[in-house]
């Protein structure tokens, strides 16, 4: 190739790569740099003055009971929601394995929750959970039990939100596991059946081990997604009652957008980022080991 051609060939690739690169850097690298920087400063919202205060923001947050509470709630939510979603997803995938009449219609219905807007879902569940006019308490009253404050009882509210998340995202884990299942060669089952293995045996000794990578992958995706919980808390409880549904994302939102405590919001963000990175590494190391 001639020199001039070479240059125009190279510049073609630089030109088509540049827009995405610049946009991603503008939207993420610069804000993250700002967050890291601001976490070491006291920011006066009214005068706009910034004072360097070292790790003060971090120390204040670590001692903040609300932050500890948010962290704990986030962990509880992440753990129960992601594990149960994967569990039900696997269950559904096994249930729908093999062919039967109406399989396509059933799969179609199953994906409804994951394509509807979270806000719409929250609206419906808000009615279900309503103390007076809700379906749940109506059923409880009919079978002679005390009505429950699904979103107003501080021991229960977080679990009520977990239930909504399970309803919304089990379809996603189902889809991925189902895609993984369909990649298992049929001959494996035939061979096992000829050897006289029972259905449950086949599921335990052949299907599940082959699926373990997929299960781990989808568990990782759900863990990282549930860790950022914000929308449902905003719509269903607003962090209450008595902060029992405060999460890390919600804590950052309140510090940043309600109290304009940019320094503390940034410090909380940095801590959250470290934890997310830790979670991601934890899963990725396992996933990569499975690949070998």
């Amino acid at each position: 190739m001639k020199n001039k051609d070479r240059i125009s060939y190279n510049s073609f690739f630089y030109i088509i790569f540049a827009p995405a690169l610049l946009l991603v850097l503008f939207l993420t690298a610069y804000p993250l740099g700002t967050v890291l920087h601001d976490s070491f400063f006291r920011y006066d919202f009214i005068t706009g003055a910034k004072d360097y205060i070292g790790f003060q923001n971090y120390i204040r947050i670590a001692g903040d009971e609300l932050f500890q509470r948010s962290f704990r709630n986030t962990l509880v939510f992440t753990f129960f929601a992601s594990v149960l979603e994967v569990f039900f997803g696997v269950l559904l995938a096994f249930l729908l394995y093999g062919s039967f009449k109406g399989k396509k219609a059933a799969s179609l219905i199953i994906i409804f929750p994951m394509i509807i807007s979270t806000m719409v879902i929250c609206a419906v569940w808000q009615i279900f959970y309503h103390y007076e006019i809700g379906l749940f308490n109506y059923v409880l009253r009919n079978i002679g039990m005390q009505p429950v404050g699904w979103l107003t009882d501080q021991r229960i509210a977080l679990y009520s939100i977990i239930l909504v998340d399970i309803w919304q995202w089990t379809p996603f884990t189902f889809l991925i596991i189902q895609a993984g299942m369909s990649s298992i060669p049929y001959e494996l089952f035939e061979a096992a059946r000829i050897d006289g293995a029972k259905k449950t045996q086949i599921a335990r000794t052949i299907t599940l081990p082959i699926l373990s990578t997929q299960i781990l992958l989808v568990l990782m995706l759900r863990t990282l997604d549930t860790f950022r919980l914000f929308d449902k808390v905003y719509a269903l409880t607003g962090g209450g009652p008595a902060n029992s549904t405060q999460t890390l994302s919600f804590y950052i939102y309140r510090e940043g957008f309600s109290f304009f405590n940019f320094g503390r919001a940034s410090a909380a963000s940095v801590i959250t980022l470290f934890f997310v990175a830790f979670l991601a590494m934890f899963y990725l190391r396992r996933l990569l080991r499975e690949d070998d």
């Binding site: 249930l95 990649s183 914000f230 905003y234």
Partner: protein
């Protein structure tokens, strides 16, 4: 005896399956049911499973309140965000697959994009708000289109990258030998080959953008400019919630996606089984 056990098994299977489907369909049915009730029936302490006096009153009120405007905003923002993401992701992924940038930028960029996909977006919200404010992107739909790229662009890049990576290079080489320029190769050889993959990816991105809530809540304040999810959240937050109207909006916001769910399902399953390989 054997026959009998088979029938029992069948029945058990259908019972479990139908109860799962019931759990999924009841909330969606409840939305329709409530949206057709009059305000008095909605707040009765004995929930009715059918509207006793079906009315379209709620839909009328919602349209009078100008929901078209918000519907239109949502359409504009989500389609523009998807279009931009797909275009940029396609161009960038092609460069990443076929060209080696210095300083292992290829690898670093892909890892960075994956990291963006997993970080909680609220972390970016505070600094981005200040940046957007400085450049006049707050309280504007174009600002939302830009902000939504945080979700849609990483997603699109990863999936389209996978599709392009699986593409054999021979077609492009043949076209280059025939004297086609790189741009020509990209437009008339590569693009048609990955068309299905790109369509599947757009569906993902479109659903993400259509349902996005956080940035839409934080970056837009003017009622005229709100998107549907934020309108819904405002209804939920009201002191005496208009449940019937809320459900009517919810159904209207879900209808476009539910109507195409057959198509969406096909694209989703194809997309997943491709990206797992």
């Amino acid at each position: 005896m054997h026959q009998f056990r088979l029938i029992i098994k069948r029945m058990l299977f259908w019972m479990i399956l139908l109860s799962f489907l019931g759990l999924i369909l009841i909330p969606i049915y409840w939305m329709l049911n409530t949206s057709l009730k009059n305000p008095r029936e909605v707040i009765s302490s004995v929930p009715t499973f059918f509207p006793h006096d079906p009315t379209l009153e709620n839909y009328g009120k919602v349209f009078q309140a100008g929901i078209w405007r918000n519907f239109f905003n949502t359409v504009m923002v989500s389609f523009s965000a998807t279009l931009i993401s797909i275009l940029l992701a396609f161009l960038a992924s092609y460069a990443l697959v076929r060209y080696r940038f210095p300083f292992s930028i290829n690898k670093l960029f892909l890892i960075w994009v994956l990291a963006v996909r997993i970080l909680p977006p609220i972390v970016l919200a505070v600094p981005l708000f200040n940046i957007f404010n400085a450049v006049g992107l707050i309280n504007s739909l174009s600002g939302l289109v830009v902000a939504f790229q945080i979700y849609t662009l990483p997603y699109s890049i990863w999936i389209i990258y996978g599709f392009l990576k699986a593409l054999p290079i021979e077609f492009e080489e043949a076209a280059t030998l025939d004297g086609a320029s790189p741009l020509r190769v990209l437009v008339s050889v590569v693009a048609p080959l990955v068309r299905t993959g790109v369509i599947a990816t757009s569906i993902f991105a479109l659903i993400l953008a259509w349902n996005e809530f956080m940035f839409a809540l934080l970056f837009v304040r003017t009622p005229r400019l709100l998107t549907l999810p934020v309108v819904i959240s405002r209804y939920i937050g009201e002191y005496s919630t208009q449940w019937g109207e809320l459900m009517a909006i919810g159904l209207l916001a879900s209808l476009p996606i539910l109507l195409f769910s057959n198509f969406v399902y096909r694209q989703l399953t194809e997309g997943f089984s491709m990206s797992l390989k």
